[in-house]
Each structure stands twice: as structure tokens, then as C-alpha cells.
């Protein structure tokens, strides 16, 4: 596995150097970045440094076209949040935004270059029926109609089945926790909600506290099964770490909160792989403090073999012989993390026997 074949990670590490890249390098970078859904972020990074006009015309057209899409998604997220607030006014709870919608509304660096407008929110578990009803009244509808899938979500998962708005065709994921109840880690959603902070200018909207936002992103990334967009999520994490590490006692607070929420392991991986792949400036002391989450040598070796392959753009030029197996193993692992063994077997059997419906 030759790290320098991942041009996207190189570009993210040193955007300023892109002005001296050859057309051949740009050709491969545009293709890898398109697969990794990071073309718009690279455009943003060049724009931020006043270097966009120095990119050769042909690749620049692709960067700018990607920016058109991400500008649209930014507007779409803001409108979607507007409509969600409108729908949930009567429920009377603060709506906690997660992931991309949170980055956009809180105006964080990770907001730039987003290519999706799905919104994720966190609400108290006991309010789920009311929230679901309010959303349905305002035009959102369930998307999963298979009875097994519905029950899977409602019984075992930490979220309602995704709902899609009938007119706008946008999706909302309503979470009551950040991991399923059956998962091996148990971050307490009550604690997350208690620490949530308001979005400036909107009392009914909140985002997670900075360290919680980072831990949520890390947990999501390192327990997820489909890592085709892993580098994109890692880039978000890198952005959050760089932005919030300016706060006093940040690293200390991050490590202790990870312990408190039972998320020490994902934090360890987050710091390890952001450093390795994106050269995120993580002080040695922070790594030491996160050491409580360190796996055994053997497991760490295995995770390196898997993640250092899977967190690359899903493009032939970034893969080696073991990459497909690495992705496959991480897929199985993600189910293992979410479900106890018996339930996992049942779930996989069901999925194997029921043919997927044609789109």
C-alpha cells in the first residue's frame, strides 16, 4: 500500500502545493476526489487560500462544478433545518442537530464542501412518537416498508427508520442515541443532551458540545460499515479537531469526556488515523491521555491494516490486493459492534434470504 497514491489525502494535507501539480496529477486527483466526495472541499481549500485561479483551467472547471453542488447543499440544509423547526415547534423540545447540519448551522470549517443535505437530529427517546407524528403531518413519510426493517430500526437501532419528505425528497434521520442499545459501547444520550449548546440566533436549535461533536463523529466513523466516504468523514474530524483545539484544556477535556461516555476506543482511533493520514496536529500528551482507549498490539496491527486501506478514496488507483477484503471485514465488524451475536446471525440470515428490491 503506497500512501502517496492517495492524492486526495496529499491534497488535504497541503493544499497550497497543488498550484505546482502537473495536469497528469490533477487528472488522477479529480477522479479520486470525486469518488471520495471531496472535490468540493479541495475547491474550498484552494479558494480560502486565494489560489483557485492558479489551478489549470481544465481541472479548475471540475472543482468549481463541485462547489456549485456544495453551495446548493448548504442552502438546502439551511432550508431543511428551517422546515424541521417549523414542523417541530409544537413538540416543544430543543432540536439537537448532528453531523453536517450541525457544522453548517454552527458555521464550522467542516461545513465547507459538503455534498449531502440529509439532516440528522437527536431527540429524547420518550418524544419519538410525537416527533414522528409532527414530521408526518408536515410531509415526511417513512421510507422503509419492509416489516422486518421497520422492526429492526424501532427495536434495536438508535434512530427511527429514515423519513423522506414527499415534495423535497430530502431525508431526515431522527436519533434518540448515537449508538444502538445493543451496541458494545454505551454513550449516555442524556449526558449528550445535557451538554448541548444553542445555535446563535435560534433558541430551539442546539448542537452537541465541541468534544461531544468530535466523539460522535469518531464513533460514527469507527463503527460504520461502509467506509467508501471514510476519508471525507476523517476530513471532517480533522477540521473539528483543528478548530476546537484552540480552546483551553481541550485535549484534557476530550480524553476525560471519552472515558465518561465509554468512547475511549473510537477516540484513540480518531487521533491515530487523523494524524497518520491527514497529519492533524495532535500533541503527544493528547495521545497519551487517549491511551486508555488503546487496543491490544495485535488488534491495533489488524485495525491499521484495515483502516489504512479503507480510509482511502474508493478508486482503483488507491487500492491494493487486500483492500476489498479490508472493506468486507470492516462491514462485518460494524454489524458485530452493533448487535449481540445471536441477533447478528438472525439479521444476516434475513438479509441473505430476502432479495433486495430493485430501485
Amino acid at each position: 500500500m503506497k500512501p502517496e497514491r492517495d492524492l486526495v489525502a496529499s491534497a488535504l494535507r497541503d493544499p497550497a502545493a497543488l498550484v505546482s501539480w502537473t495536469l497528469a496529477e490533477w487528472d488522477l486527483l479529480v477522479r479520486q476526489a470525486r469518488r471520495a466526495q471531496l472535490l468540493a472541499r479541495i475547491c474550498w481549500l484552494m479558494h480560502e487560500r486565494g489560489l483557485l485561479q492558479q489551478v489549470p483551467e481544465q481541472p479548475r472547471a471540475h472543482l468549481e462544478a463541485a462547489r456549485v453542488v456544495s453551495d446548493k447543499q448548504d442552502r438546502a440544509i439551511r432550508w431543511e433545518v428551517n422546515r424541521i423547526r417549523h414542523a417541530l415547534t409544537r413538540v416543544g423540545i430543543p432540536v439537537i442537530l448532528l453531523k453536517g447540519a450541525a457544522y453548517v448551522m454552527a458555521e464550522l470549517p467542516s461545513a465547507h464542501g459538503r455534498l449531502f443535505a440529509d439532516v440528522d437530529i437527536l431527540v429524547p427517546k420518550e418524544k419519538l412518537p410525537e416527533v414522528e407524528a409532527a414530521l408526518m403531518m408536515h410531509g415526511w413519510a417513512a421510507t422503509l416498508h419492509d416489516a422486518y426493517d421497520q422492526r429492526y430500526y424501532r427495536t434495536w437501532m438508535h434512530e427511527l427508520p429514515p423519513m423522506t419528505h414527499v415534495k423535497r425528497e430530502t431525508t431526515i434521520d431522527v436519533h434518540h442515541a448515537i449508538l444502538p442499545e445493543t451496541a458494545r459501547l454505551h454513550p449516555d444520550p442524556v449526558k449528550l443532551r445535557a451538554a448541548a449548546q444553542p445555535v446563535p440566533g435560534a433558541q430551539d436549535l442546539q448542537v452537541l458540545a465541541p468534544v461531544d461533536m468530535i466523539l460522535h463523529s469518531a464513533t460514527h466513523l469507527f463503527s460504520d460499515g461502509e467506509l467508501e466516504h471514510g476519508l471525507r468523514d476523517l476530513s471532517d474530524l480533522d477540521g473539528l479537531l483543528r478548530h476546537f483545539s484552540a480552546e483551553a484544556d481541550f485535549w484534557q477535556h476530550l480524553a476525560s469526556r471519552a472515558q465518561e461516555l465509554d468512547l475511549a476506543r473510537p477516540l484513540y482511533y480518531a487521533l491515530r488515523y487523523t494524524q497518520r493520514i491527514l497529519t492533524t496536529p495532535v500533541p503527544d500528551s493528547a495521545v497519551a491521555m487517549a491511551g486508555a482507549g488503546r487496543p491490544s498490539r495485535l488488534l491495533e496491527w489488524l485495525m491499521d491494516a484495515l483502516f489504512l486501506r479503507a480510509l482511502r478514496p474508493d478508486h482503483a488507483s488507491c487500492a491494493d490486493f487486500f483492500t476489498p477484503a479490508a472493506r468486507g471485514l470492516l462491514y462485518v465488524r460494524s454489524h458485530w459492534l452493533r448487535m449481540p451475536p445471536l441477533l447478528l446471525v438472525r439479521h444476516l440470515l434475513h438479509k441473505a434470504l430476502v432479495s433486495p428490491k430493485d430501485d
Partner: protein, 96 residues
Amino acid sequence: MLTTEWVVDGDAALLLRQWGDECVVYNSVSGDTHLLNALGGVALTSLLQAPATADGLAQRVASQLGFEADEALLETIGTLLGDFERIGLIRQHPLQ
């Protein structure tokens, strides 16, 4: 309802183009584009200038288009305001 004022939603940056009787409106917040007829166009541009109640708006529209401000017009304006609110162009503005 009659004492409620309507105002163009401050957040919605509206772009208008007019050709003859037609008015096309782009709402840059929702990303939607709407085609309004003469009545709709006059009503919206009027609200852009100043808030109005349904009654007041009917008066303004009637005088601009040379109609009579009768029951039928008031009813039409009422429906129009409902439509405008639903698509996010205007919102209620409580009178002081």
C-alpha cells in the same frame, strides 16, 4: 385573521422578474421558483413594499388593477395569502 398583517418573510431573499402580466419569483432561501399571474404579482410586490392585512392588500390591489374591492376579491386575496404562506414567501406579522 382580519387583523393579522402579512409581510414578506425577511429571511427569504426574493428575486422578481416581470413580463407583462406575468411575474416570476425566485426564493433564494427555499430554492423554489414560482410563476404568478397579474393579481399574484401585484399582491406580492405590494407586500414587498409594506406589510398589509388581507383587507388592506385587497384595497391596494383593487386600486392598482382597476377592480372593485368586493367580497370575491377579498376571498381570492385570502386564498392567495394562504398559498404564499405555505410556500414560504410571507409570514404573519402581528399588529402592534
